[in-house]
């Protein structure tokens, strides 16, 4: 054997040993994590469902990571109920839950599952769902629980043209789909257009089961659009609004506002009647979430801890100078249920 081959052989052994050692320690750490009981105080779901509550995705690094949890609205930092339902994104109204999940495999599959109950306190039943064409991003349910929306990132699209692509669909929970929103008529600044590069994401529903709001992006600009489900039309009404969220009284839109690079977001609120924008600059972290309303003047969003898989749900008053506080630790995807 030549010296060269010996050296190479030694290198192969070294590199293989290093890779294996790293993988084995990662597997051991993963096993430790998934067998650890949750550190948070727990209670039963029936107990929590007796009153108003916040549903969320539990993010503690333990056996329940990624599972849907709930806390009482009047004690959000207190005992939580954790379910077996595992989701990447979750949203809920009083009688419906939408859960977007990744089924990992050699080919990862993505699935939207709808759950429903007829009375609070009953066991949640799977009532519908759909396969998703990509990685879950956003989901919302209309106030009456009949309509569900999902936004996913489609990796296949970005293979051919540089840039990311989203696909947003609105379905009735009983099965009928309104299809891909990119196929809706699009009116930007009063003109009917059909740009190739349009992307639509982040739906929020109004009370009437017909009106909704969404982000429409094309030509490097993002717009807030008002949608009409019956007319299958989207009409832009404001600029630089991403992931809108309609306030419970229907007068304001909470959203994330991008900086110039489009890589950092600050929560903000838009008054629909006056067009007045309030940037909630008290939050200095970049917020990449679809905001939820706790009440008519407080918003909620998930925020990852620095360099960790754990995120927390923060609450922020909608006045410009307010400072945020952690409302539900070890949680993301908050939904307020009354």
């Amino acid at each position: 054997m030549t010296r060269r081959s010996t050296l190479f052989g030694a290198l192969v052994v070294l590199v293989t040993a290093a890779m294996t050692a790293y993988a084995l320690s990662a597997i051991a750490e993963d096993d430790r994590r998934t067998s650890r009981a949750t550190a948070a105080e727990t209670t039963s779901l029936a107990q929590i469902e007796k009153g108003p509550r916040i549903l969320f995705r539990h993010t503690g690094t333990d056996a329940d990571y990624g599972h849907v949890g709930a806390v009482a609205l009047d004690d959000p930092g207190g005992a939580r109920a954790v379910t077996d339902l595992s989701c990447d994104r979750v949203y809920a109204q009083a009688r419906s839950i939408s859960c977007l999940a990744t089924e990992r495999g050699v080919v990862s599959r993505y699935r939207a599952t709808d759950l429903a109950i007829s009375e609070p306190g009953e066991a949640w039943q799977e009532v519908g769902g759909a396969d998703l064409p990509g990685m879950p991003s956003r989901t919302r349910i209309s106030p009456d629980g009949r309509l569900v929306s999902s936004t996913v990132f489609v990796n296949g699209d970005s293979y051919m043209v540089s840039g990311f692509s989203t696909r947003t669909v609105i379905r009735r929970i009983d099965g009928k789909s309104y299809g891909d929103l990119e196929k809706f008529t699009l009116v930007i600044d009063g003109r009917r257009v059909a740009p190739v590069d349009r992307n639509i994401w982040g739906i929020t529903f109004a009370e009437d089961d017909r009106t909704f709001y969404a982000t429409v992006a094309t030509g490097g600009r993002t717009h807030l659009a008002r949608g009409d489900l019956e007319a299958r039309r989207l009409t832009t009404i404001a600029d630089r609004v991403e992931c809108p969220s309609l306030s419970p009284d229907g007068t304001r839109i909470a959203f994330k506002e991008a900086d110039e690079d489009g890589t950092r977001w600050t929560p903000a609120v838009l008054d629909l009647a006056t067009g007045r924008r309030t940037v909630l600059a008290g939050e200095t972290h970049s917020v990449d979430d679809q905001i939820e309303w706790l009440d008519d003047d407080t918003v909620l969003y998930g925020l990852a801890r620095d360099g960790e898989a754990v995120s927390d749900v923060w609450a922020l008053d909608t006045s410009a100078s307010a400072t945020p506080r952690v409302l539900v630790p070890e949680a993301s995807s908050p939904a307020v249920l009354r």
């Binding site: 990571y65 050699v106 296949g156 840039g163 977001w265 970049s286």
Partner: protein, 425 residues
């Protein structure tokens, strides 16, 4: 002193003994293994990158889009420069090695990168590395092969390369399946394979592989470098092949659109999207060697042009709108046939049409023109898609492509380079 700076292509390319009879040169197989290891490394990361960036690093898809743009664009820009550097120094091996090393360093960078800036820097470095190594590597394959069996040599290399590209994502998903948030593990394993690729190259591909001039030349201090002139690169043959390949590439709209058209007509369910790429890869790797042999027998330029017929057939499958499963399978396989017939063949043809002293630059020129034309095709087809709908758009491109193939055929034939024997020195 022995000095030969003539532009005449040389028959004996390297210090390595020429393989006799049916064997593919050891250097070609070694380069194939280097590509296999490197592709395991790069494709395992590519497979998890969208998930990793958005789910773990917390970049938004908008930022990911910017990164993806870098990913696609950077590579073709540096390719010609690297080809030029390889020819100028007459040492393709160290230039290619530098390219592989850059990608390995980029993997290391990705492990420690935390923000948008560092990640895009790491990904650009990886793509620059890919751009740097491609043409010098193909020049080494050309130099280490029996000119009569060039197509098969490239076939062997591309088959090994594609095995790596198929194993990479598989490895990534096995890791993520076992370790829920095992992105770090994927990155570390990817770095390991990149290091093994670089080491294989450094240890087993001799420094002078692909060098054209004699060793004695190194003593001549006055003119140690070759002047790479565009005049000698752009031979009538290379210009014609680059033109034809580039023109046909303008009608190559990309697998993504073919798959999307099949998706539109209900040929398969959306979640099987990634499987289609695997199917095309498998067809490619199975057919790379037979196609290379065929090219050696009937003429490489001929196979390069006629290789676009399966592409046209794939368009037809996508446009048929039958929604039948077999049209999807057929389209996936036909795309594999197209790549097997054209990818390695282009490098083989281009490398033989320029003097050996500017081979890397010649190959880089043909590849860059083709890559840029394909990017344009994807953008243009996107517009057509929305204007007339997927089916009509596919049929239109299919018709133009079928009409263009005989034209391309005639252009290459007029230059009488269809027969490999005639480009032999």
């Amino acid at each position: 002193m022995y000095l030969s700076l003539s532009d005449r292509p040389t028959t004996t390319k390297s210090a390595e003994p020429q393989p006799h009879g049916g064997r593919v040169s050891r250097t070609v197989v070694t380069l194939g293994i280097v590509s296999l290891l490197t592709d395991i490394s790069s494709e395992s990361v590519s497979a998890i990158l969208p998930l990793y960036l958005t789910a773990v690093v917390g970049l938004s898809p908008v930022a990911y889009g910017l990164i993806d743009g870098l990913y696609q664009g950077v590579s073709s820009l540096v390719r010609i420069a690297a080809g030029w550097a390889a020819d100028r120094t007459d040492r393709p091996q160290p230039v290619a090695l530098a390219g592989y090393a850059m990608s390995a360093v980029a993997r290391l960078g990705l492990i420690f990168a935390g923000g948008f800036g560092t990640i895009s820097a790491a990904i650009s470095l990886d793509r620059v590395g890919k751009g740097v190594r491609t043409a010098p590597r193909d020049a080494m394959i050309a130099a280490s092969s029996d000119p009569a069996r060039l197509g098969r040599s490239f076939g062997v290399h591309r088959a090994l390369d594609t095995i790596g590209a198929t194993l990479g994502p598989l490895l990534a998903f096995v890791i993520l399946w076992r370790i829920a948030d095992g992105y770090d593990t994927v990155l570390v394993v990817s770095l390991g394979f990149a290091v093994l690729g670089v080491a294989t190259m450094a240890f087993f591909v001799p420094f002078r592989t692909g060098a054209v001039r004699r060793v004695a030349l190194r003593r001549e201090r006055r003119e140690p470098r070759v002047r790479v002139r565009w005049r000698s690169v752009l031979t009538p043959g290379l210009t014609r092949v680059t033109g034809v390949s580039g023109a046909l590439a303008l009608l190559t709209v990309g697998d993504g659109f073919v798959y999307l058209a099949l998706l539109e007509t209900g040929g398969f369910a959306a979640q099987w999207f990634p499987v289609l790429y695997v199917g095309t890869n498998l067809a490619y790797l199975a057919l790379a060697v037979p196609m290379g042999r065929l090219a050696d027998r009937v003429g490489r330029a001929r196979v390069l042009v006629l290789g676009h017929l399966p592409l046209a057939a794939a368009y037809l499958c996508a446009a048929s709108g039958s929604g039948a499963l077999w049209t999807t399978c057929a389209a996936v396989l036909l795309l594999g046939v197209f790549y097997a017939a054209t990818d390695g063949t282009l490098a083989a043809v281009a490398g033989q049409l320029v003097p050996a002293t500017v081979r890397s630059t010649g190959i880089a020129t043909a590849q860059t023109a083709t890559a840029i034309a394909r990017l344009l095709a994807a953008t243009g087809f996107g517009l057509l898609w929305y204007a007339v709908g997927p089916q009509v758009a596919m049929l239109l491109v299919c018709a133009v492509l079928v009409a263009a193939i005989p034209v391309g055929f005639a252009v290459l034939r007029r230059g009488s380079l269809a027969e490999p024997a005639e480009v032999r020195p």
